[in-house]
Protein backbone atom coordinates (compact mmCIF):
# COMPACT_ATOMS: atom_id res chain seq x y z
CA UNK A 1 0.00 0.00 0.00
CA UNK A 2 2.81 2.39 0.97
CA UNK A 3 4.46 2.10 -2.44
CA UNK A 4 1.18 2.48 -4.31
CA UNK A 5 0.66 5.74 -2.43
CA UNK A 6 4.16 6.94 -3.29
CA UNK A 7 3.35 6.18 -6.93
CA UNK A 8 0.09 8.11 -6.60
CA UNK A 9 2.06 11.05 -5.19
CA UNK A 10 4.27 11.07 -8.26
CA UNK A 11 1.25 10.66 -10.56
CA UNK A 12 -0.49 13.60 -8.94
CA UNK A 13 2.67 15.67 -9.33
CA UNK A 14 2.58 15.01 -13.08
CA UNK A 15 -1.12 15.87 -13.27
CA UNK A 16 -0.29 19.34 -12.03
CA UNK A 17 0.81 20.26 -15.55
CA UNK A 18 -2.65 20.62 -17.08
CA UNK A 19 -1.56 21.72 -20.53
CA UNK A 20 -4.90 20.52 -21.92
CA UNK A 21 -6.72 23.43 -20.24
CA UNK A 22 -4.19 26.06 -21.26
CA UNK A 23 -6.43 28.09 -23.57
CA UNK A 24 -9.81 27.01 -22.15
CA UNK A 25 -11.73 30.23 -21.40
CA UNK A 26 -14.88 28.45 -20.18
CA UNK A 27 -16.42 29.74 -16.92
CA UNK A 28 -18.12 27.21 -14.62
CA UNK A 29 -20.29 29.02 -12.04
CA UNK A 30 -17.97 31.96 -12.58
CA UNK A 31 -14.78 29.96 -11.99
CA UNK A 32 -12.40 29.73 -14.96
CA UNK A 33 -12.00 26.04 -15.85
CA UNK A 34 -8.21 26.18 -15.38
CA UNK A 35 -8.64 27.53 -11.84
CA UNK A 36 -11.39 25.05 -10.99
CA UNK A 37 -9.08 22.20 -12.01
CA UNK A 38 -6.42 23.38 -9.59
CA UNK A 39 -8.93 23.85 -6.77
CA UNK A 40 -10.04 20.24 -7.32
CA UNK A 41 -6.35 19.31 -7.37
CA UNK A 42 -5.99 20.69 -3.82
CA UNK A 43 -8.92 18.56 -2.65
CA UNK A 44 -7.41 15.42 -4.22
CA UNK A 45 -4.03 16.27 -2.64
CA UNK A 46 -5.73 16.44 0.75
CA UNK A 47 -7.30 12.99 0.24
CA UNK A 48 -3.93 11.58 -0.79
CA UNK A 49 -2.33 13.06 2.34
CA UNK A 50 -5.06 11.42 4.44
CA UNK A 51 -4.21 8.04 2.88
CA UNK A 52 -0.47 8.59 3.39
CA UNK A 53 -1.02 9.44 7.05
CA UNK A 54 -3.22 6.37 7.47
CA UNK A 55 -1.16 3.81 5.57
CA UNK A 56 2.40 5.18 5.36
CA UNK A 57 2.92 6.93 8.68
CA UNK A 58 6.47 6.66 10.09
CA UNK A 59 5.27 5.36 13.47
CA UNK A 60 8.81 4.36 14.52
CA UNK A 61 9.79 8.03 14.86
CA UNK A 62 7.89 8.44 18.10
CA UNK A 63 10.16 5.88 19.78
CA UNK A 64 13.36 6.90 18.01
CA UNK A 65 12.90 10.49 19.20
CA UNK A 66 13.17 9.48 22.85
CA UNK A 67 16.49 10.93 24.09
CA UNK A 68 16.85 8.17 26.69
CA UNK A 69 16.97 5.40 24.06
Amino acid sequence: MRYILYLALFGLYLLHNDVWLWEDACLIYGFPSGLLYHIAYCVVASVLMLLLVKFAWPSHLEVEADPSK
Binding site: L12, Y13, D18, W22, L27, C42, E62, E64, A65
Partner: protein
Amino acid sequence: MILAVVALYIALVLGIGLFSHKLFRKTGEDYFVATRSIGSFVLFMSLFGTHMTAFSILGASGESYHVGIGVFALLASSSALLVPAVFLFVGTKLWALGKKHGYLTQIQYFRERWNSDGLGLLLFVVLNLLLVPYLLIGLMGGGITLTQITKGAIPEWVGGLAVIAVISIYVLYGGMRGTAWVNTFQTIVFMVCSGLAFFVISSNMGGFETAMKRVADANPDLIIFGNNIQPLQLLTYTLIPLSVGMFPHLFNHWLTARRAKAFQQTIIFYPLAIAIVWVPSVLLGIMGTLNFPGLQGAAANSILIRMIELHANKVLAGILAAGVISSVMNSLDSQSLAIGSMFTQDIVRHYGFHDNMSESKQVFYGRLFVLLILLATYVLSLFSGRSIFRLGIWSFTGFAALFPVVIAALYWKRSTKYGAFASVISVIVLWIYFFFQAGESEAYTIGGSGIMPVAVLFVVSALCMILFSLVTKAPEPFVVEKFFPSVSQRPLEVL
Protein backbone atom coordinates in the same frame (compact mmCIF):
# COMPACT_ATOMS: atom_id res chain seq x y z
CA MET B 1 -13.12 53.89 12.39
CA ILE B 2 -10.93 51.59 10.28
CA LEU B 3 -7.91 52.45 12.38
CA ALA B 4 -9.89 51.85 15.59
CA VAL B 5 -10.76 48.30 14.45
CA VAL B 6 -7.15 47.63 13.47
CA ALA B 7 -5.97 49.04 16.83
CA LEU B 8 -8.41 46.74 18.67
CA TYR B 9 -7.09 43.78 16.71
CA ILE B 10 -3.49 44.69 17.54
CA ALA B 11 -4.43 45.01 21.22
CA LEU B 12 -5.85 41.46 21.09
CA VAL B 13 -2.65 40.16 19.47
CA LEU B 14 -0.55 41.80 22.17
CA GLY B 15 -2.85 40.44 24.87
CA ILE B 16 -2.40 36.85 23.63
CA GLY B 17 1.36 37.27 23.28
CA LEU B 18 1.72 38.73 26.74
CA PHE B 19 -0.60 36.14 28.33
CA SER B 20 1.57 33.32 26.94
CA HIS B 21 4.39 34.69 29.11
CA LYS B 22 2.61 33.24 32.15
CA LEU B 23 3.75 29.77 31.01
CA PHE B 24 7.33 30.86 30.30
CA ARG B 25 9.86 28.52 31.97
CA LYS B 26 12.84 30.87 31.59
CA THR B 27 14.95 28.38 29.61
CA GLY B 28 16.48 28.61 26.16
CA GLU B 29 14.51 25.57 25.02
CA ASP B 30 11.26 27.17 26.16
CA TYR B 31 12.03 30.52 24.55
CA PHE B 32 13.06 29.05 21.20
CA VAL B 33 10.88 25.91 20.80
CA ALA B 34 8.24 26.17 23.56
CA THR B 35 9.77 23.12 25.34
CA ARG B 36 8.52 20.95 22.42
CA SER B 37 5.02 21.03 23.87
CA ILE B 38 2.77 22.24 21.03
CA GLY B 39 -0.24 20.08 20.11
CA SER B 40 -1.86 19.30 16.73
CA PHE B 41 -4.15 22.29 16.26
CA VAL B 42 -1.71 25.03 17.28
CA LEU B 43 1.06 23.32 15.27
CA PHE B 44 -1.13 23.30 12.16
CA MET B 45 -2.23 26.90 12.56
CA SER B 46 1.23 28.22 13.42
CA LEU B 47 2.92 26.31 10.57
CA PHE B 48 0.32 27.42 8.06
CA GLY B 49 0.27 31.01 9.31
CA THR B 50 4.05 31.20 9.26
CA HIS B 51 4.22 29.85 5.73
CA MET B 52 1.47 32.14 4.38
CA THR B 53 2.75 35.69 4.32
CA ALA B 54 2.16 39.01 2.66
CA PHE B 55 3.39 36.98 -0.32
CA SER B 56 0.24 34.85 -0.43
CA ILE B 57 -2.21 37.60 0.42
CA LEU B 58 -0.91 40.80 -1.16
CA GLY B 59 1.66 39.27 -3.53
CA ALA B 60 -0.74 36.69 -5.01
CA SER B 61 -3.50 39.23 -5.63
CA GLY B 62 -0.97 41.71 -7.05
CA GLU B 63 0.54 39.13 -9.38
CA SER B 64 -2.82 37.72 -10.52
CA TYR B 65 -3.83 41.30 -11.36
CA HIS B 66 -1.11 41.14 -14.03
CA VAL B 67 -0.92 37.43 -14.88
CA GLY B 68 -4.38 35.98 -14.11
CA ILE B 69 -5.42 32.57 -12.79
CA GLY B 70 -2.06 30.97 -13.59
CA VAL B 71 -0.70 32.36 -10.31
CA PHE B 72 -2.77 29.81 -8.40
CA ALA B 73 -1.30 26.93 -10.42
CA LEU B 74 2.23 28.29 -10.19
CA LEU B 75 2.38 28.34 -6.43
CA ALA B 76 -0.79 27.39 -4.59
CA SER B 77 -1.77 24.00 -6.00
CA SER B 78 1.82 22.81 -6.31
CA SER B 79 2.33 23.80 -2.65
CA ALA B 80 -0.86 21.93 -1.77
CA LEU B 81 0.84 18.70 -2.82
CA LEU B 82 4.50 19.29 -2.09
CA VAL B 83 4.46 21.19 1.20
CA PRO B 84 2.58 18.53 3.21
CA ALA B 85 4.72 15.88 1.49
CA VAL B 86 7.84 17.68 2.76
CA PHE B 87 6.31 17.84 6.25
CA LEU B 88 5.73 14.07 6.09
CA PHE B 89 9.10 12.99 4.70
CA VAL B 90 11.37 15.71 6.11
CA GLY B 91 9.58 17.52 8.94
CA THR B 92 8.73 14.47 11.03
CA LYS B 93 12.24 13.06 10.73
CA LEU B 94 13.84 16.37 11.71
CA TRP B 95 11.44 16.65 14.64
CA ALA B 96 12.57 13.21 15.88
CA LEU B 97 16.26 14.04 15.48
CA GLY B 98 15.75 17.44 17.11
CA LYS B 99 14.05 15.90 20.10
CA LYS B 100 16.56 13.07 20.47
CA HIS B 101 19.66 15.26 20.26
CA GLY B 102 18.21 18.47 21.75
CA TYR B 103 18.61 20.64 18.65
CA LEU B 104 17.23 24.16 18.66
CA THR B 105 18.34 25.20 15.15
CA GLN B 106 18.87 23.43 11.83
CA ILE B 107 22.53 24.55 11.79
CA GLN B 108 23.13 22.41 14.91
CA TYR B 109 21.79 19.40 13.02
CA PHE B 110 23.76 19.94 9.82
CA ARG B 111 26.95 20.69 11.78
CA GLU B 112 26.75 17.41 13.68
CA ARG B 113 25.39 15.40 10.75
CA TRP B 114 28.56 16.07 8.76
CA ASN B 115 30.81 16.82 11.72
CA SER B 116 31.85 20.20 10.31
CA ASP B 117 31.86 23.61 11.98
CA GLY B 118 32.79 25.20 8.64
CA LEU B 119 29.66 23.85 6.97
CA GLY B 120 27.59 25.13 9.88
CA LEU B 121 29.05 28.62 9.46
CA LEU B 122 28.51 28.64 5.69
CA LEU B 123 24.90 27.56 6.09
CA PHE B 124 24.40 30.13 8.82
CA VAL B 125 25.42 32.94 6.46
CA VAL B 126 23.47 31.61 3.47
CA LEU B 127 20.23 30.88 5.33
CA ASN B 128 20.24 34.28 7.02
CA LEU B 129 20.93 36.17 3.79
CA LEU B 130 18.14 34.29 2.01
CA LEU B 131 15.73 35.20 4.78
CA VAL B 132 16.31 38.93 4.28
CA PRO B 133 14.06 39.36 1.20
CA TYR B 134 11.47 37.15 2.90
CA LEU B 135 11.49 39.44 5.95
CA LEU B 136 11.28 42.47 3.70
CA ILE B 137 8.09 41.35 1.99
CA GLY B 138 6.39 41.10 5.37
CA LEU B 139 7.37 44.59 6.41
CA MET B 140 6.55 46.10 3.04
CA GLY B 141 3.15 44.37 3.19
CA GLY B 142 2.45 45.85 6.62
CA GLY B 143 3.43 49.33 5.47
CA ILE B 144 1.36 49.11 2.28
CA THR B 145 -1.73 47.96 4.19
CA LEU B 146 -1.67 50.70 6.80
CA THR B 147 -0.93 53.40 4.21
CA GLN B 148 -3.72 52.26 1.94
CA ILE B 149 -6.45 51.93 4.56
CA THR B 150 -5.65 55.38 5.98
CA LYS B 151 -5.56 56.92 2.49
CA GLY B 152 -1.95 57.92 2.97
CA ALA B 153 -2.40 59.51 6.41
CA ILE B 154 0.00 56.89 7.74
CA PRO B 155 3.01 56.74 5.42
CA GLU B 156 4.57 53.36 4.63
CA TRP B 157 7.57 54.02 6.87
CA VAL B 158 5.30 54.62 9.87
CA GLY B 159 3.18 51.54 9.01
CA GLY B 160 6.30 49.37 8.86
CA LEU B 161 7.52 50.79 12.15
CA ALA B 162 4.17 50.04 13.82
CA VAL B 163 4.30 46.40 12.63
CA ILE B 164 7.87 46.07 13.95
CA ALA B 165 6.87 47.51 17.33
CA VAL B 166 3.96 45.10 17.81
CA ILE B 167 5.96 42.04 16.77
CA SER B 168 8.90 43.03 18.95
CA ILE B 169 6.70 43.18 22.04
CA TYR B 170 5.11 39.75 21.76
CA VAL B 171 8.14 37.90 20.37
CA LEU B 172 10.53 39.34 22.94
CA TYR B 173 8.14 38.66 25.75
CA GLY B 174 6.41 35.45 24.70
CA GLY B 175 9.15 33.68 22.69
CA MET B 176 8.07 30.70 20.59
CA ARG B 177 4.99 29.91 22.70
CA GLY B 178 3.72 33.48 22.35
CA THR B 179 4.51 33.40 18.64
CA ALA B 180 2.68 30.09 18.11
CA TRP B 181 -0.40 31.26 20.02
CA VAL B 182 -0.51 34.60 18.23
CA ASN B 183 0.03 32.81 14.90
CA THR B 184 -2.93 30.56 15.63
CA PHE B 185 -5.18 33.52 16.35
CA GLN B 186 -3.91 35.42 13.32
CA THR B 187 -4.30 32.44 11.00
CA ILE B 188 -7.93 32.03 12.02
CA VAL B 189 -8.47 35.76 11.47
CA PHE B 190 -6.94 35.90 8.03
CA MET B 191 -8.61 32.69 6.83
CA VAL B 192 -12.02 34.01 7.89
CA CYS B 193 -11.25 37.48 6.51
CA SER B 194 -10.14 36.02 3.19
CA GLY B 195 -13.52 34.38 2.67
CA LEU B 196 -15.39 37.39 4.04
CA ALA B 197 -13.57 39.84 1.75
CA PHE B 198 -14.30 37.64 -1.24
CA PHE B 199 -18.01 37.34 -0.37
CA VAL B 200 -18.52 41.05 0.35
CA ILE B 201 -16.60 42.37 -2.65
CA SER B 202 -18.05 39.96 -5.19
CA SER B 203 -21.60 40.64 -3.88
CA ASN B 204 -20.97 44.35 -4.22
CA MET B 205 -19.85 43.84 -7.81
CA GLY B 206 -23.21 42.29 -8.75
CA GLY B 207 -22.35 38.72 -7.75
CA PHE B 208 -19.33 36.54 -8.43
CA GLU B 209 -20.52 35.10 -11.75
CA THR B 210 -21.42 38.54 -13.11
CA ALA B 211 -18.08 39.99 -12.05
CA MET B 212 -16.15 37.15 -13.66
CA LYS B 213 -18.13 37.47 -16.91
CA ARG B 214 -17.14 41.13 -16.96
CA VAL B 215 -13.50 40.14 -16.42
CA ALA B 216 -13.77 37.57 -19.24
CA ASP B 217 -15.07 40.29 -21.58
CA ALA B 218 -12.62 43.02 -20.54
CA ASN B 219 -9.46 40.96 -19.90
CA PRO B 220 -9.89 37.47 -21.41
CA ASP B 221 -6.17 36.73 -20.94
CA LEU B 222 -6.62 36.70 -17.17
CA ILE B 223 -8.96 33.69 -17.07
CA ILE B 224 -6.64 31.39 -19.03
CA PHE B 225 -2.97 30.49 -18.70
CA GLY B 226 -2.44 31.59 -22.32
CA ASN B 227 0.67 33.59 -23.00
CA ASN B 228 1.01 34.82 -19.44
CA ILE B 229 2.65 31.54 -18.41
CA GLN B 230 4.68 29.01 -20.36
CA PRO B 231 4.32 25.24 -19.85
CA LEU B 232 7.97 24.90 -18.79
CA GLN B 233 7.44 27.71 -16.31
CA LEU B 234 4.54 25.81 -14.71
CA LEU B 235 6.65 22.65 -14.53
CA THR B 236 9.76 24.28 -13.06
CA TYR B 237 7.81 26.44 -10.62
CA THR B 238 6.82 23.24 -8.84
CA LEU B 239 10.31 23.12 -7.33
CA ILE B 240 9.74 26.38 -5.44
CA PRO B 241 7.51 24.84 -2.69
CA LEU B 242 10.37 22.51 -1.74
CA SER B 243 11.85 25.61 -0.10
CA VAL B 244 9.82 24.76 3.02
CA GLY B 245 12.30 21.93 3.66
CA MET B 246 15.02 24.48 4.35
CA PHE B 247 13.15 27.43 5.91
CA PRO B 248 14.76 28.03 9.34
CA HIS B 249 11.49 29.35 10.78
CA LEU B 250 9.51 26.26 9.74
CA PHE B 251 12.27 24.04 11.13
CA ASN B 252 11.85 25.78 14.49
CA HIS B 253 8.09 25.28 14.37
CA TRP B 254 8.58 21.57 13.58
CA LEU B 255 10.68 21.27 16.71
CA THR B 256 7.83 22.61 18.84
CA ALA B 257 5.63 19.55 18.21
CA ARG B 258 4.78 17.49 21.27
CA ARG B 259 4.74 14.22 19.28
CA ALA B 260 5.18 13.09 15.69
CA LYS B 261 1.44 12.50 15.44
CA ALA B 262 0.87 16.22 15.98
CA PHE B 263 1.93 16.61 12.33
CA GLN B 264 -0.95 14.51 11.00
CA GLN B 265 -3.65 17.18 11.08
CA THR B 266 -1.30 19.63 9.37
CA ILE B 267 -0.42 17.19 6.60
CA ILE B 268 -4.03 16.31 5.84
CA PHE B 269 -5.59 19.78 5.96
CA TYR B 270 -2.76 21.85 4.50
CA PRO B 271 -3.92 21.53 0.86
CA LEU B 272 -7.43 22.68 1.76
CA ALA B 273 -6.15 25.59 3.85
CA ILE B 274 -4.01 26.74 0.93
CA ALA B 275 -7.04 26.76 -1.36
CA ILE B 276 -9.10 28.67 1.22
CA VAL B 277 -6.53 31.48 1.39
CA TRP B 278 -5.28 31.63 -2.20
CA VAL B 279 -8.51 31.31 -4.21
CA PRO B 280 -10.01 34.58 -2.85
CA SER B 281 -6.66 36.38 -3.19
CA VAL B 282 -6.22 35.37 -6.82
CA LEU B 283 -9.83 36.05 -7.80
CA LEU B 284 -9.93 39.44 -6.08
CA GLY B 285 -6.70 40.40 -7.84
CA ILE B 286 -8.29 39.53 -11.19
CA MET B 287 -11.57 41.30 -10.35
CA GLY B 288 -9.53 44.33 -9.29
CA THR B 289 -8.68 44.96 -12.94
CA LEU B 290 -12.30 46.09 -13.39
CA ASN B 291 -12.20 48.74 -10.66
CA PHE B 292 -8.56 49.80 -10.86
CA PRO B 293 -7.28 49.27 -14.40
CA GLY B 294 -3.79 50.25 -15.43
CA LEU B 295 -1.77 49.68 -12.25
CA GLN B 296 1.87 49.12 -13.16
CA GLY B 297 4.34 46.67 -11.57
CA ALA B 298 4.59 46.74 -7.76
CA ALA B 299 1.66 49.19 -7.53
CA ALA B 300 -0.63 46.14 -7.90
CA ASN B 301 0.54 44.85 -4.49
CA SER B 302 -2.09 47.09 -2.97
CA ILE B 303 -4.97 45.89 -5.15
CA LEU B 304 -6.58 43.81 -2.40
CA ILE B 305 -6.58 46.72 0.04
CA ARG B 306 -7.94 49.06 -2.64
CA MET B 307 -10.78 46.62 -3.32
CA ILE B 308 -11.60 46.29 0.38
CA GLU B 309 -11.58 50.05 0.76
CA LEU B 310 -13.87 50.53 -2.24
CA HIS B 311 -16.42 47.82 -1.51
CA ALA B 312 -16.60 47.31 2.26
CA ASN B 313 -18.03 49.62 4.92
CA LYS B 314 -15.59 51.12 7.39
CA VAL B 315 -15.99 48.55 10.19
CA LEU B 316 -15.69 45.66 7.76
CA ALA B 317 -12.78 47.34 6.00
CA GLY B 318 -11.04 47.58 9.38
CA ILE B 319 -11.64 43.87 10.07
CA LEU B 320 -10.44 42.87 6.60
CA ALA B 321 -7.39 45.10 6.86
CA ALA B 322 -6.65 43.46 10.22
CA GLY B 323 -6.79 40.12 8.41
CA VAL B 324 -4.17 41.29 5.93
CA ILE B 325 -1.96 42.68 8.68
CA SER B 326 -2.25 39.38 10.56
CA SER B 327 -0.90 37.48 7.55
CA VAL B 328 2.01 39.91 7.44
CA MET B 329 2.93 39.63 11.12
CA ASN B 330 2.46 35.86 11.15
CA SER B 331 5.65 35.17 9.29
CA LEU B 332 7.73 38.10 10.36
CA ASP B 333 7.56 37.03 14.01
CA SER B 334 8.66 33.44 13.37
CA GLN B 335 11.40 34.48 10.95
CA SER B 336 12.91 37.00 13.36
CA LEU B 337 12.72 34.43 16.17
CA ALA B 338 14.44 31.83 13.96
CA ILE B 339 17.27 34.22 13.10
CA GLY B 340 17.58 35.26 16.75
CA SER B 341 17.76 31.59 17.64
CA MET B 342 20.53 30.92 15.09
CA PHE B 343 22.61 33.91 16.22
CA THR B 344 22.27 32.86 19.86
CA GLN B 345 22.78 29.11 19.49
CA ASP B 346 25.06 28.82 16.47
CA ILE B 347 27.33 31.81 17.02
CA VAL B 348 27.26 33.15 20.58
CA ARG B 349 26.65 29.86 22.40
CA HIS B 350 28.75 27.64 20.13
CA TYR B 351 31.77 29.90 19.64
CA GLY B 352 31.55 32.35 22.54
CA PHE B 353 30.57 29.91 25.29
CA HIS B 354 31.68 26.55 23.77
CA ASP B 355 28.08 25.31 24.10
CA ASN B 356 28.04 26.01 27.85
CA MET B 357 25.72 28.96 28.20
CA SER B 358 23.30 29.60 31.03
CA GLU B 359 19.59 29.48 30.26
CA SER B 360 19.09 33.13 31.21
CA LYS B 361 21.90 34.23 28.89
CA GLN B 362 20.36 32.24 26.00
CA VAL B 363 17.06 34.04 26.53
CA PHE B 364 18.80 37.42 26.82
CA TYR B 365 20.80 37.01 23.62
CA GLY B 366 17.79 35.56 21.81
CA ARG B 367 15.76 38.67 22.63
CA LEU B 368 18.62 41.00 21.75
CA PHE B 369 19.11 39.46 18.32
CA VAL B 370 15.38 39.38 17.54
CA LEU B 371 15.24 43.11 18.24
CA LEU B 372 18.34 43.89 16.17
CA ILE B 373 17.10 41.81 13.23
CA LEU B 374 13.72 43.50 13.21
CA LEU B 375 15.33 46.93 13.29
CA ALA B 376 17.80 46.03 10.51
CA THR B 377 14.96 44.69 8.35
CA TYR B 378 13.03 47.89 8.91
CA VAL B 379 15.93 50.04 7.72
CA LEU B 380 16.39 47.83 4.63
CA SER B 381 12.66 47.98 3.81
CA LEU B 382 12.91 51.76 3.41
CA PHE B 383 15.16 51.29 0.38
CA SER B 384 13.54 48.29 -1.31
CA GLY B 385 11.32 48.80 -4.35
CA ARG B 386 10.87 45.33 -5.87
CA SER B 387 7.44 43.69 -6.14
CA ILE B 388 6.46 41.52 -3.18
CA PHE B 389 5.96 38.52 -5.45
CA ARG B 390 9.37 38.80 -7.10
CA LEU B 391 11.21 39.34 -3.83
CA GLY B 392 9.55 36.22 -2.46
CA ILE B 393 10.42 34.14 -5.50
CA TRP B 394 14.15 34.95 -5.25
CA SER B 395 14.17 34.03 -1.59
CA PHE B 396 12.28 30.76 -2.22
CA THR B 397 14.58 29.92 -5.16
CA GLY B 398 17.60 29.85 -2.86
CA PHE B 399 15.90 27.78 -0.17
CA ALA B 400 14.45 25.32 -2.72
CA ALA B 401 17.88 24.86 -4.32
CA LEU B 402 19.25 23.84 -0.90
CA PHE B 403 16.63 21.09 -0.59
CA PRO B 404 19.04 18.34 -1.82
CA VAL B 405 21.19 19.15 1.23
CA VAL B 406 18.49 18.21 3.72
CA ILE B 407 17.42 15.16 1.70
CA ALA B 408 21.00 13.87 1.58
CA ALA B 409 21.41 14.55 5.30
CA LEU B 410 18.31 12.56 6.19
CA TYR B 411 18.32 9.74 3.66
CA TRP B 412 21.86 9.21 2.29
CA LYS B 413 24.43 7.74 4.69
CA ARG B 414 27.25 8.09 2.16
CA SER B 415 26.80 11.84 1.73
CA THR B 416 29.83 13.81 2.94
CA LYS B 417 30.54 17.32 4.15
CA TYR B 418 32.36 18.00 0.88
CA GLY B 419 29.23 17.10 -1.04
CA ALA B 420 27.26 19.47 1.20
CA PHE B 421 29.86 22.24 0.77
CA ALA B 422 29.81 21.83 -3.03
CA SER B 423 26.04 21.87 -3.08
CA VAL B 424 25.75 25.06 -1.00
CA ILE B 425 28.52 26.86 -2.92
CA SER B 426 26.89 25.99 -6.26
CA VAL B 427 23.66 27.55 -4.99
CA ILE B 428 25.45 30.74 -3.93
CA VAL B 429 27.25 31.15 -7.26
CA LEU B 430 24.24 30.40 -9.48
CA TRP B 431 21.82 32.43 -7.36
CA ILE B 432 24.01 35.53 -7.66
CA TYR B 433 24.49 34.94 -11.39
CA PHE B 434 20.77 34.61 -12.16
CA PHE B 435 19.76 37.40 -9.79
CA PHE B 436 21.89 39.87 -11.76
CA GLN B 437 20.87 38.34 -15.09
CA ALA B 438 17.24 38.95 -14.20
CA GLY B 439 17.88 42.54 -13.10
CA GLU B 440 14.60 44.38 -12.70
CA SER B 441 12.80 42.02 -15.10
CA GLU B 442 9.42 41.09 -13.64
CA ALA B 443 9.06 37.85 -15.62
CA TYR B 444 12.56 36.47 -15.98
CA THR B 445 13.00 32.89 -17.18
CA ILE B 446 16.20 31.43 -18.60
CA GLY B 447 16.60 32.65 -22.17
CA GLY B 448 12.86 33.34 -22.25
CA SER B 449 12.27 29.56 -22.38
CA GLY B 450 9.95 29.42 -19.38
CA ILE B 451 12.53 27.54 -17.31
CA MET B 452 12.82 29.14 -13.89
CA PRO B 453 16.36 29.61 -12.47
CA VAL B 454 15.35 27.38 -9.53
CA ALA B 455 15.39 24.34 -11.86
CA VAL B 456 19.04 24.87 -12.79
CA LEU B 457 20.07 25.68 -9.23
CA PHE B 458 18.28 22.59 -7.91
CA VAL B 459 19.74 20.15 -10.46
CA VAL B 460 23.29 21.50 -10.10
CA SER B 461 22.99 21.48 -6.31
CA ALA B 462 21.83 17.83 -6.33
CA LEU B 463 24.57 16.80 -8.77
CA CYS B 464 27.25 18.52 -6.69
CA MET B 465 26.01 16.73 -3.57
CA ILE B 466 26.18 13.34 -5.31
CA LEU B 467 29.44 13.76 -7.20
CA PHE B 468 31.49 15.38 -4.44
CA SER B 469 30.21 12.87 -1.89
CA LEU B 470 31.17 9.92 -4.07
CA VAL B 471 34.69 11.17 -4.81
CA THR B 472 35.52 12.07 -1.21
CA LYS B 473 36.18 9.87 1.81
CA ALA B 474 33.13 8.23 3.32
CA PRO B 475 31.94 9.77 6.61
CA GLU B 476 33.26 8.39 9.91
CA PRO B 477 31.31 5.33 11.15
CA PHE B 478 30.46 7.01 14.48
CA VAL B 479 28.75 9.87 12.63
CA VAL B 480 26.75 7.48 10.46
CA GLU B 481 25.79 5.38 13.48
CA LYS B 482 24.56 8.44 15.33
CA PHE B 483 22.11 9.40 12.61
CA PHE B 484 21.37 6.03 11.05
CA PRO B 485 21.34 3.55 13.95
CA SER B 486 21.69 0.00 12.67
CA VAL B 487 18.64 -2.22 12.97
CA SER B 488 20.15 -4.20 15.85
CA GLN B 489 20.59 -1.01 17.88
CA ARG B 490 17.13 0.39 17.34
CA PRO B 491 14.80 0.42 20.32
CA LEU B 492 12.85 -2.83 20.64
CA GLU B 493 9.52 -1.07 20.13
CA VAL B 494 10.56 -0.19 16.58
CA LEU B 495 11.43 -3.71 15.52
